[in-house]
């Protein structure tokens, strides 16, 4: 615990990650306020995905610190960060494909209800578990698909389930890794609606390629380029920024 909680959800200080000779993330600092909707964008190879994996705990940084609600979480493994309220989705669907939609979400909820070691699940705990699973499914619009095996869901529905799994861990900050990757226009529209309907208290950190998605969701945008922060500002400011245009479209 280095700094007292200051309304910041996330503070990243001089974060670095090198793979051999390659400096994928070369000293990124940023601060995300509570209940802010922040997007991180950048052209291919800007280090977005590496940055994302450092925040979620999937990768260990070479240097720098990550503070989550005032607590230093730099050394914590991913599963401990989730328990603190920092949850992620995956860019490529990463689900339990042989299980039903219901069973997928139940895995997340039973961990949250501390039932995962139980060899017996009694009536009341089981009812509460099932009710919570159903709540989450309604929230993301998958209640109808409750009993469908995940492998037979449509791609868009699987993306929705990605979000449902992360939400079921009751995060205070949700990391979204390209939530609309590979989606049709109609599906993208539904996903934007879904993200906009998330509770306002939830902090969002979004990595996304699709500028329409970014501009319709994000309050503030951080632009990464060659592993460093190029600029940061409101959607309008970023839209107008000449340097951002240059790195995206060349001269």
């Amino acid at each position: 615990m280095t700094t007292p909680f200051s309304g910041e959800a996330l503070r990243v200080t001089d974060l670095q990650k090198t793979f051999g000779e390659l400096k994928a993330v070369g000293g990124v600092s940023l601060s995300v306020a509570r209940s802010e909707r922040r997007a991180v964008i950048g052209p291919n190879g800007a280090g977005k995905t590496t940055f994302f994996n450092l925040i979620s705990g999937a990768l260990k940084p070479t240097a720098g610190t990550i503070e989550f609600e005032g607590h230093n979480v730099t050394g914590l493994p991913d599963w401990k960060r989730v328990r603190r309220g920092l949850s992620r989705t995956f860019q490529r669907n990463n689900l339990f494909t042989s299980l039903t939609t219901f069973e997928n979400v139940r895995l997340a909820v039973q961990r949250q209800h501390s039932l995962s070691y139980n060899l017996w699940s009694a009536g009341k705990a089981r009812r509460q578990l099932n009710e919570r699973v159903e709540q989450v499914l309604i929230q993301v619009g998958l209640a109808r698909r409750s009993q469908t095996v995940v492998a037979s869901l449509s791609y868009g529905e699987q993306r929705q389930l990605e979000i449902a799994l992360a939400l079921a861990t009751e995060p205070s900050i949700l990391l979204l890794d390209e939530p609309t990757a590979g989606m049709s226009v109609a599906e993208t529209g539904r996903m934007i609606d879904l993200i906009k309907q998330l509770p306002p208290s939830l902090t969002l950190l979004l990595v996304e390629h699709d500028m329409e998605v970014v501009f319709s969701i994000a309050d503030r945008i951080t632009v990464l380029h060659l592993g460093q922060v190029l600029t940061e500002g409101t959607a309008q400011a970023i839209r107008a920024d000449e340097r951002v245009r240059q790195v995206y479209f060349g001269d």
Binding site: L95, F96, L115
Partner: protein, 370 residues
């Protein structure tokens, strides 16, 4: 769909659906197997009744009773491996270690103590196997895939080498004769030298072991294991410390394999280093695969199939060229395994499922035509 409909959906959902007896890892077929739940209860009850009646029906056929005792012991052994192989996705190739530890722990205990009690021997065997699984499992689960397989194999072969060489304790290559222990239940002395009596004790412990495994895989803990089998990375992203769950599964499986080992040593009256040898790990893995991994009943069917097929083949007189088939059981087993792996990867249970689906579909079509 309204909220009420949704909540009805839930009540009829995975908790109380007609398919709740479906323990298979193959959830894709759900809920397409009607009446399978009641059918399973009925056939399970009948099977236990038939097994219980076998000594009376076979009328003094000690060979048959002894063979069936051995089958039940291996069915229990296979059930324990399936918890790892089928439900947790841990391919252990050294599961004979825990079976063998049950054998030697109970064997040495009984050989050292006069008038040893069966229940105490059972406890010693299960505890030794469980504690060993805790230690060796702690090291093994730090690896995965092929490294896990090789490490579990290495541990079991180390135990085999110890049992083979430590003459003073284990009898080394000669093995260790073990007298039948005493069993007194509720003041009633049971003579375990009577094959039928020993068979009943084995059957009772098999049924208990089966119900324990069934409870484990249907519990939230069991769901966690299946989640790890399906996608361990995502489990971590849901806040699971997956290693501890894998270790817990390893200990439960090791203790149950130890139970099977204890039953085996008192059945044979002899502890042999072969019980620890890697071929024993291979045999039980073949039973799980032929029966159907990741299904509750699969390993049991696999054990019955392998043992009785062996018996059948070894009773055959015909020759193939200069081969006497009776002496070529392993060759036949190999051929059967190849056919299953290629054409019926879900094992006997998979074949049964297909037939059931086909049959019930035919019935429902006929019902509609009327």
């Amino acid at each position: 769909m309204s909220l009420e409909e949704v909540s009805k959906d839930i009540e009829a959902g995975p908790v109380a659906s007609p398919d709740k007896e479906d323990d298979s890892g193959n959830y894709a077929v759900r809920p397409s197997l009607p009446w399978l739940g009641p059918a399973k209860w009925l056939s399970g009850g009948l099977a236990v009744l038939l097994l219980a009646a076998f000594p009376a029906l076979s009328n003094g056929d000690n060979f048959g009773v002894n063979l069936l005792t051995e089958v039940l012991i291996y069915a229990l052994f296979a059930l324990s491996l399936n918890l790892l192989l089928g439900y947790t996705g841990l391919v252990s190739f050294g599961h004979a270690a825990y079976f063998g530890l049950g054998v030697y722990a109970a064997g040495v205990f009984t050989a050292q103590i006069k008038n040893a009690s069966f229940l105490l021997g059972l406890l010693v065997g299960v505890v030794v196997a469980g504690v060993a699984a805790l230690g060796l499992g702690y090291l093994s689960i730090r690896t995965s895939g092929i490294y896990f397989l090789v490490l579990t194999l290495a541990f079991s072969q180390m135990l085999y080498a110890i049992a083979f060489k430590w003459n003073d304790l284990t009898g080394g290559s000669n093995g260790l004769p073990v007298l039948k222990p005493e069993l007194i239940l509720f003041g009633w002395q049971i003579d375990l030298t009577d094959p039928a009596a020993y068979y009943f004790v084995t059957l009772a412990l098999f049924v208990i072991g089966f119900l324990v495994i069934r409870q484990v895989i249907r519990s939230p803990f069991g769901h966690t294991l299946v989640g790890i089998r399906d996608n361990e990375e995502r489990m971590a992203a849901l806040g699971y410390q997956t290693r501890n769950f894998k270790l817990a599964a390893f200990v439960i499986a090791g203790a149950l394999a130890g139970l099977a080992g204890v039953l085996n040593v008192y059945h044979n009256g002899f502890a042999s280093a072969d019980d620890l040898y890697w071929t024993n790990s291979g045999l039980v893995m073949v039973m799980v695969l032929l029966g159907g991994k990741g299904t509750l009943i699969g390993p049991v069917l696999g054990a019955f199939f392998v043992r009785y097929a062996e018996q059948f083949i070894q009773g055959q007189k015909f020759t193939l060229g200069s081969f006497l088939m009776a002496e070529r059981w392993l060759m036949v087993l190999g051929a059967i395994l190849v056919v299953f792996v290629l054409f019926a990867p879900s094992g006997i249970v998979g074949i049964g499922r297909s037939l059931w689906r086909w049959g019930t579909e035919r019935l429902s079509v006929r019902g509609k035509q009327k």
